[in-house]
Amino acid sequence: MAKTEDSEKKKLRTSSLRAYTMIGALVVIWLFFHWQTGSIFLTPRNLSNLMLQTSVTGIIAVGMLMVIVSGNIDLSVGSLLALAGGTAALCLTVLGLGLIPSVLAAIAVGVAIGFFQGFLTAYASIPAFIVTLGGLLAWRGAIKGISKSETISVSDPAFKAIGQSYLAPMGGWILAVAAIVLILFLAYRSVQNQKMYGEGDTSFGSEMAKALLPIAGVIAFIYVMNAYAGIPIPVLIFLAVAFFGFFITNNTTFGRYIYAIGGNAEAARLSGINNRAVVMKVFAILGAFTGIAAVIYTARVAAASPDAGTLLELDAIAACVIGGTSLMGGRGTVFGACLGALIMASLDNGMSLLNYADFTQELIKGTILVAAVGLDMIGRK
């Protein structure tokens, strides 16, 4: 099966092309800022900040990716974030509930609204754009009404820790070991599988060699994070969400159905897929992620303000598109979406370090956004 192996690689190559260009763009952006900021940008401390500043958008981008791949869109995430964050804060302060119930309440709000919007989209056939545009207005109105437009400050230290604390370096290394074991196990299982299904010519060694790059990545990441203060908890949550999203989209039947529905809804239906149920669940997943992001957001600023998260939907969608997601549905990767979120956060962080005037920041961000995707299009030709 050498041939299969070969063109599997080729397939990997073309589909990863965009990811490579984007990694290239990221490296260029990073080096440029490092040079311009007088070697501050690439210090562990700033990288830690950068990851922290990526996490909220990143978490939502992962969920948004699935929604977009399924051929839909969600404009309500910003407002939903405010509502879910407000819910958590109210549970903690006014209702006096504990940490866990409050966090769960925020996620429950996200899931419930996700299901609701998904239901309207999938079963009532109202275009997602309209449903979630309505949501953008309504959930913002709801949180303003509930909170009387007041910012609710949160003082519970355990809750604030979700946004503001770090995993002790030791914990980081334990995680690293766990991740490496997982990578090796997957590589081993892949070899086993190939043996079992008769593709025996992949040697154990070559498969292990392929695992080296991710292992090096894990070690470098933990090393850098620990060089400052350990992995920030929001980043840890972001990584968990990204891993979950990656697993769902790549290794589950549910994930395949998302792509199939986005690619050709009729064909998916004719293959016996229950399109509506899948779409509804995808919205619910995004809702859950938004709830998680809301908790982090609220914990980070130690307050839930009713205007939290405005324009977040555009950031999340942009992250997906920069990462190669097609707005027509059917195409896109979690890795790309995360990369897109990181690129956007890098621009914000770098320009803020350089203390650029805000109009310059907007001009540059707009230009780079277009240029990055533009270069990528040229590269693909």
């Binding site: 299969t4 063109s7 792509y259 986005g262």
Partner: protein
């Protein structure tokens, strides 16, 4: 013995159309049952009723499997009852790989986690059975239409169904592929699988069938043993009248050279060093029908697309129209010098499915029909109705959406679109794919008429009898190179096939 399947008095109406009117059909284990009829007779609709696309309650009548009444609400339920179907309209997800498409909805998995290795392995086996030498991890969007059809077949075969429905599975296949398919179907038949087979290729129908059911205008004309019938009888049952020789016997008067192509070479867009068309030259005269034969992937479509200015990859070569060298950089340029191009995949390249016949028909020639800047509904309407009548398009009106037409009628709309540009040279790429005999005959007659009117016609076809029957001259391509050119008199199935296989 209870039959495997009985469909009793099936009636199905669409708004304004009674597609099926008390149709009956039965099928036994291990039987190969052909379903034939004109375009729009209701064959595909009947099979959609069977496979749960139109859920129970949406039609009248009963479906019995092994004597038990079935009330399918979803496609999945029909699948569970052992029915697998290859839809006429390709229903693949272009963004997914071959293997993903084959197993879509039925992935080998454990608690929702896919076993990729098993999936690709099984897919590779299925493709091997079909003699298809492509990697199962290729994206379906990268395949030609013929290969897509084979994937669709693999998808149906993978279900291990006891009842297999094939709705025009061979429309885009070459003869050797059809042979491979039939080999497999014979094996299935021996295993007791019942098959319903829809095709407009009557030779195939007779090669395989035990019984034949003929539909006309949504009604069952009759079910007969294949041995009791012959081709002419089937045709007259389908069409309701005697049909003579479907290829017109005329010899054309040739005028001067309408178009000459010299040293045309075209490269694949993704692999700038791979030649799809390799140094091809030919001439076609006014009033002449030039057939282009070859196997799938021989580069025939690319040849036409390149001349027409529609090829995205690199290319070189010269094109002369009426003796003058022309520089065609876009389809617009091609239309301006008088070339029309009936493309092969009508859904992808030919039609805007949610627009009307009128909108589609006048699109290419809009500026000639109505004026440079302003459109004129009445002018467009009269042009469209005229061409609809000329090609005998069966549709309620010019304002019918093309998406609701039967395949054959859709094809005619595409041809009509190009006739409305008043071309001097007309390219036809697989012009009769999926079209019934009656309509085929009409289209052949039309080709003939156009040639008599002085058009130069270049026709690509994978159906050998068609190329031999219609062309005045035949150019054969093999892997992008011209490997033979035959006049009508010289051409025989044997020497054309020999040239096509290199």
């Amino acid at each position: 013995m209870t039959p495997l399947l009985e469909m009793k008095d099936i009636t199905k109406e669409f708004p304004g159309v009674k597609a099926l009117d008390e149709v009956n059909l039965d099928l036994h284990e291990g039987e190969f049952h052909a379903l034939v009829g004109e375009n729009g007779a209701g064959k595909s609709t009947l099979m959609k009723v069977l496979s749960g696309v139109y859920p129970y309650g949406n039609y009248k009548g009963d479906i019995l499997i092994n004597g038990e009444i079935q009330k399918f609400q979803t496609i999945r339920e029909a699948e569970n009852a052992g029915i697998a179907i290859i839809f006429q309209e390709l229903s693949l997800v272009k963004e997914l790989t071959i293997a993903e498409n084959i197993f879509l909805g039925r992935e080998p998995s454990n608690l929702g986690v896919i076993n990729w290795h098993k999936m690709y392995q099984d897919a590779a086996k299925l493709l091997k059975d079909l003699n298809l030498d492509i990697n199962p991890s290729t994206e379906v969007g990268d395949l030609g239409i013929g290969q897509q059809q084979l994937v669709e077949i693999a998808k149906a075969l993978s279900q291990d169904a006891k009842l297999l429905v094939l709705d025009e599975p061979t429309a885009a296949l070459t003869e050797s592929e059809v042979e491979t398919l039939f080999e497999i179907l014979r094996k299935l038949k021996d295993r007791g699988v019942g098959m319903i087979y829809i095709s407009h290729k009557l030779d195939e129908v007779f090669e395989m069938s035990d019984r034949i059911t003929v539909l006309r205008d949504g009604q069952t004309v009759g079910t007969h043993h294949a041995a009791e019938l012959d081709k002419d009888k089937v045709i007259s049952l389908m069409v309701g009248r005697e049909v003579g020789d479907i290829f017109p016997e005329v010899s054309h008067e040739f005028g001067e050279v309408a178009m000459e192509v010299r040293n045309l070479t075209a490269f694949e867009p993704d692999h700038p060093d791979k030649k799809l068309v390799d140094n091809v030259s030919f001439k076609v005269r006014k009033g002449e029908v030039l057939g282009i034969a070859g196997l799938m992937g021989a580069g025939r479509s690319e040849l036409l697309a390149t001349i027409f200015g529609a090829w995205r990859g690199n290319h070189s070569g010269e094109v002369y129209v009426e003796g003058k060298k022309v520089d065609i950089r876009s389809p617009k340029d091609a239309i301006d010098v008088g070339i029309g191009f009936v493309t092969e995949d009508r859904k992808r390249y030919g039609l805007i499915l949610d627009q009307t016949i009128l909108d589609n028909s006048t699109l290419a020639g809009l500026k000639d029909i109505s004026g440079r800047f302003l459109t004129s509904r009445p002018k467009e309407l009269s042009a469209t109705t005229e061409v609809m009548e000329k090609l005998n398009v069966k549709a309620p009106s010019a304002m019918t959406e093309t998406g609701t037409l039967s395949g054959g009628n859709q094809q005619k709309v595409v041809i009509g679109k190009w006739l409305l540009t008043n071309p001097k040279i007309l390219f036809l790429d697989e012009p009769t794919r999926g079209i019934d005999v009656g309509a085929k005959q009409e289209i052949y007659a039309e080709i003939n008429l156009l040639a008599e009117e002085g058009l130069a016609i270049v026709m690509v076809s994978s159906e050998l009898p068609e190329v031999l029957g219609v062309s005045d001259r035949i150019l054969v391509l093999h892997e992008g190179r011209a490997t033979g050119e035959f006049s009508k008199e010289e051409a025989t199935p044997e020497n054309v096939m020999a040239a096509a296989t290199g």
